[in-house]
């Protein structure tokens, strides 16, 4: 096991810079998820750690060693790919043993390690099968088994669950997390699915356009997003945003509706954005008036889509409220859950920023 340090890493393809100034420190045994929309550079970053992409700027270290110029096989890492990348002409056993065979490990040792990995993953009865005879979940498990037998310092996962159906994805998510708790191997996991990130990570690295937007524990990102992007990306359904201005400790939307602010947000400021998560809105006759457009019951809760002034908002309500489309309702935010962002920079503003402005 080892820590991974990514220092000021960038990526250029010829004259085009696609990534710059990435810095992430991953502690020994930590489970870090790189998350972001497609094209944000998360997979490229993972491939640079793996050694499949050249690092054009900065430094990546695994343990104490800078690995920029070390071949992938000598980095002591193992990778699980999105499409499993199992060798179709080899049995499960041969697939798992392949890396060790190439290293000329002794046969008895290979067998021992393959058996152990197979037992951990429940693959023992499938060892003689070929990948095409396996289900998606089983293939995914073989791909993980292939990584485990190498007993690497770091596991790399590149969107490993995106080819599975929703139910299996939840199960494999749990299995991967369980595996990590058992083996405690440092893990870097790439996904575009923020729910995967939230549920699995010790820490999340949110990326966009080749740069890191924020690094933090899942609940940190959820409770204290640094900017509009992170606020909107983390959480489902996404945070409601309303443009407007602050006047005398209250927020006024463009449509003229008034929303309450937490203590300390005094003064006056234009061009701000008011953010509140759907689950932090409650029905309140005295709240901001809104017109219900769509009601979506999901079982334990109900998603209510409504128009608040000129803005479309969504609220997630519990306890089966009797709301139907066309109803006029009032919404109140939980005041300590309100976020204020600067419209121009997207940065989250704390009360102190406002005082300075005022």
């Amino acid at each position: 096991m080892a820590s991974v340090a990514i220092r000021n890493v960038g990526k250029r393809y010829g004259p085009v810079t696609v990534m710059r100034g990435i810095g992430v420190d991953i502690a020994d045994g930590e489970f870090v998820v790189l998350v972001g929309p497609s094209g944000c550079g998360k997979s490229t970053l993972l491939r640079m750690i793996a050694g499949l992409e050249e690092i054009t700027e900065g430094e990546v270290s695994i343990g104490e060693t800078v690995v920029n110029d070390i071949a992938p096989k000598d980095r002591n890492i193992a990778m699980v790919f999105q499409n499993y990348a199992l060798y179709p002409h080899m049995t499960v056993e041969e697939n798992m043993a392949f890396a060790l065979t190439l290293q000329r490990t002794e046969r008895a040792e290979i067998e021992k390690r393959v058996r152990r990995a197979a037992e951990i993953l429940g693959l023992a009865p499938l060892l003689k099968r070929y990948p095409k005879q396996l289900s998606g979940g089983q293939r995914q498990r073989v791909a993980m088994g292939r990584a485990i037998v190498r007993d690497p310092q770091v596991f790399l996962f590149d969107e490993p669950l995106s080819n599975l159906d929703a139910k299996l994805r939840v199960q494999m998510r749990m299995e991967i997390k369980e595996l990590h708790q058992r083996l405690k191997t440092t893990t870097v996991y790439v996904t575009h699915d923020q729910i995967e990130a939230m549920t699995m990570a010790d820490r999340i690295v949110v990326m966009r356009d080749g740069a890191v937007e924020q690094i933090g524990a899942p609940l940190d990102l959820y409770n204290h997003p640094d900017n509009l992007f992170v606020a909107g990306f983390i959480g489902s359904p996404g945070m409601n945003f309303m443009a407007g201005r602050i006047e005398n400790g209250r927020f006024l939307t463009k449509g003229g509706e008034t929303l309450p602010l937490p203590d300390g947000y005094g003064g006056t400021r234009t061009d701000v954005i008011y953010g509140i998560r759907p689950e932090h809105l409650t029905l309140d006759v005295g709240g901001a008036p809104a017109l219900v457009s769509v009601v979506e019951p999901t079982g334990p809760e109900v998603q209510v889509f409504a128009r608040l002034g000129v803005e479309q908002i969504v609220a997630v309500l519990r306890d089966a409220p009797s709301v139907s489309p066309g109803d006029k309702v009032g919404f109140s935010p939980q005041i300590d859950r309100v976020h204020i962002f600067d419209a121009a920079s997207g940065r989250r503003l704390v009360a102190a920023d406002l005082d300075r402005a005022a």
């Binding site: 793996a50 050694g51 499949l52 096989k73 890492i77 790919f81 990348a85 179709p88 002409h89 190439l102």
Partner: protein, 274 residues
Amino acid sequence: MRSTLMKQVPLFLILLCFCIVNLTPVAWGFLTSIRQPVDAFAVPPKLIFTPTLEFHWQIWVDKGFWRFLINTAIVSVCAVTISVSIGSMAAYALSRLRSRLASGLLFSLLAMRMFPHILLAIPFFVIAQAAHLIDTYIAMILAVVALNQPFTIWLMRSFFAEVPGELYDSAVMDGCNAWQTFRRVALPIVKPGLWVTTLFSLLLAYNEFLLALVLTRTGTKTMPVAIAEYGAEDISYWSLSAAAAFGIMLPILVFMLFMQRHLVRGMAAGAVKG
């Protein structure tokens, strides 16, 4: 149900016509080979005749046609081995190169395929003569390899192109060097394609006529040239020619039956992602 029938019946009829058109010469050749020339060329065609294996016997026993079979086998097997090995390696490299150079190379290979063979046969002859290689296996093998190479490279490249890139990444992570990635990962995956390529280039080598005519004499003469020579002597020898032509079909037929399972998989792999 009705609509499947509506589609299948015409499809069947078209394929039937196609088969008849294709197989008629073969059937005609076979009938010629088991009849006296007098019967074979009778107008109107004689439907009742006494079949004879005389010409088949003559070809294989009296005329020593097996010598040409051996020559053809040596040339074909060597040429196929060389061109498929080189072709696979070149195709693999070209399928992985992401540069304009690769497509440039590929299209120049294709351009070579476009030359009529006769245009190549003349310089090949001049080169072989200058190198004192006329009527040697080497000259014939090299010429057939040269002709086959673009074809094997193109065909193999299309099979390699379907190998998902992640498998190569995975091979690199597992510690394969370039050769191991080719030999232990890529090649086994395209094995059905390798069989298809082998068969097609074998057919090309086996049936090569023009180069054999130009480059071989008595010592290394191959079957197609020998057959043509029988027919050229006199119309009464056509039965001999037909018997020989029918004879040379058999090894290929056996090979195809033997390889059938691999071939179907290889051809299907080219069309649909497996």
